[in-house]
């Protein structure tokens, strides 16, 4: 029983990482209207930046903040260099471009940080025991970071003028423009937001496991699965689906083994989509 509870905590943690990555994907999909395959490598870049800054300053918090800023900067730079020029092109053209962007980010990360795996230097802390279940204090901290990140994203989306504009563009880009909304300003905000959320996910993942150049790319499939499961373009759905998939994956590992862990996500995804084609939270109003 306690082993199972510990698995579940582990599942929740990886679910939060998947959920944040899915949130970044779903934000870009809802507003810029394509699946951004560079999300994973933005995670990686954020993790490496955080790792080296926390190494230099001795503070994981400072490292994480700088990592998130780096993610935002990467998002905005990529927008200006690539996706701004592809505006109005098909979503397939944008997806292909984003795969190229992913490779470029990974190459740059490889050149700057070298190809070895690295770990965050965290002080070793004895786990708490609550009802005989081991709980890592760092897990609690990471969960708090995830909740704060989510709260910030939702505050921006639902309580600021730029968030309102982002939701308007997600609803109807043409109507937004004739309402005087400049797409460029909205896109800058979107890419900064999605980039920093990706980076936070990368930093969390790096702290839980190890930092490698492939870590983000490996997270891409589960994150896409969660974004689709949650109802593409639906922020709350992405988070819930991420947590659900992460938890199911970890809890199923003792039964199906490590190799098939990822397959479980897709079995769940298939079953849900058969019952609800628009995802858990998606509105049933056709393609969106």
């Amino acid at each position: 029983m306690t082993a199972y509870a510990e698995l579940m905590i582990g599942g929740l943690m990886s679910g939060l990482v998947v959920g944040l990555a899915a949130l970044a994907i779903t934000l870009v999909f809802g507003i810029a209207r394509f699946a951004n395959a560079a999300t994973g490598d933005t995670m990686t870049a954020g993790a490496y930046v955080a790792l080296s800054v926390s190494g230099a300053t001795g503070s994981v918090i400072v490292g994480g903040l700088v990592g998130a800023l780096a993610g935002a900067a990467i998002g905005v730079v990529v927008y200006f260099l690539i996706f701004r020029k592809l505006a109005g092109r098909s979503s397939v053209a944008n997806l292909l471009a984003s795969i190229g962007v992913a490779f470029i980010i990974r190459a740059i990360v490889g050149v700057i940080f070298e190809h070895q795996q690295q770990v965050f230097q965290l002080p070793l802390v004895r786990p708490w025991r609550i009802l005989d279940i081991r709980v890592q204090p760092s897990d609690l901290n990471l969960a708090i970071v995830a909740v704060l990140t989510l709260a910030t994203v939702f505050l921006i989306l639902y309580a600021t003028p730029v968030g309102r504009r982002m939701r308007a563009v997600a609803d109807d880009p043409g109507l937004a423009r004739i309402s005087g909304i400049s797409p460029t300003r909205v896109m800058i905000a979107l890419w900064a937001l999605a980039g920093s959320v990706s980076a936070v996910a990368g930093v969390m993942y790096g702290i839980k496991t190890v930092v490698t150049p492939e870590m983000g790319w490996d997270m891409l499939l589960p994150a896409f699965a969660a974004a689709i499961l949650g109802g593409i373009g639906h922020p709350v759905g992405a988070i819930c689906a991420g947590i659900l998939l992460g938890t199911i994956q970890e809890m199923a590992t003792p039964f199906v083994g490590f190799t098939y862990k990822l397959a479980i996500s897709f079995v769940v995804l298939l079953i849900v989509l058969l019952v609800r084609p628009s995802g858990l939270f998606g509105r049933n109003e056709g393609a969106r």
Binding site: P161, R167, A168, D172, A176, R177, S179, G180, I181
Partner: protein, 235 residues
């Protein structure tokens, strides 16, 4: 004074021209009705005027200024308002947010209160999502959204099409009063007789061209227009 002039306007969504050379003039404070059969290109003309048609040639001038190559958001800031035929509100935003999100509004708070005074039904449901409104309420919100910027020209694309018959007369009355307050209106309507009845000028489109045009009263009494486009029933 001419507020909107369209000259030799051609264009479409891809390589195919849907508009085949349109010339029209709207004078300040007047209503110009554009009627025509389904697929004549009326909505396409509206999109070309507000800047949403991907490919255009010819010219569109607003108060003498050439706006043909301006982005839609710039045209909005220059004084063009638009109520599309369908999808004319942001469904996932609340009523209040639909108005707050509009850019280029001077004294936004006061303007929103004004809109709620003009459309009391909206004021009662400020926090409701626009996607949940009835056809009539949605129409009112679409007007309010378009009027936020105090536009000089408003393009209305079939404003009565989605309304229940009981609301149609109200809608035309509202359009007429908007014009009497000085707003110039490009009114696209299938209910041509009722629209012409409140208009100064009229035009009938067919196959991406203006087939007939003239003062609204003349068109209403024109035998050929009645034969071909308006039908002979009286309103």
């Amino acid at each position: 004074m001419t507020i909107l002039s369209i000259e030799g306007l051609k264009g479409g969504y891809s390589e195919v021209d849907i508009l085949n050379g349109i010339d029209l003039v709207l004078r300040e404070g007047q209503i110009l009705t554009v009627a025509g059969t389904n697929g004549a290109g009326k909505s396409t003309l509206a999109k070309a005027v507000v800047g949403l048609l991907p490919r255009v040639s010819g010219s569109v001038r607003l108060a003498g200024k050439d706006i043909t190559s301006l982005a839609p958001e710039k045209r909005a800031q220059n004084g063009i308002g638009y109520v599309p035929q369908v999808a004319n509100v942001f469904p996932s935003l609340t009523i209040a947010e639909n108005l707050e999100v509009v850019e280029g509004v001077q004294d936004r708070k006061a303007r929103i209160s004004e809109m709620f005074r003009l459309f009391p039904a909206l004021a009662e449901r400020k926090r409701a999502r626009a996607g949940r409104l009835s056809g009539g309420e949605r129409q009112q919100l679409a007007y309010a959204r378009a009027l936020m910027t105090r536009p000089r020209v408003v393009v209305l694309d079939e404003p009565t099409a989605a309304l229940s018959p009981a609301l149609v007369a109200d809608s035309f009355a509202r359009i007429a009063s908007l014009a009497s307050d000085g707003t110039s209106i490009l009114l696209i309507e299938q209910r041509a007789r009722q629209a012409l009845a409140i208009s100064n000028q009229g035009a009938i489109m067919d196959g991406g061209r203006v087939a007939m045009e003239g003062p609204a009263a003349e068109l209403l009494n024109n035998e050929k227009a009645a034969d071909l486009y308006l039908g002979h029933y009286s309103t």
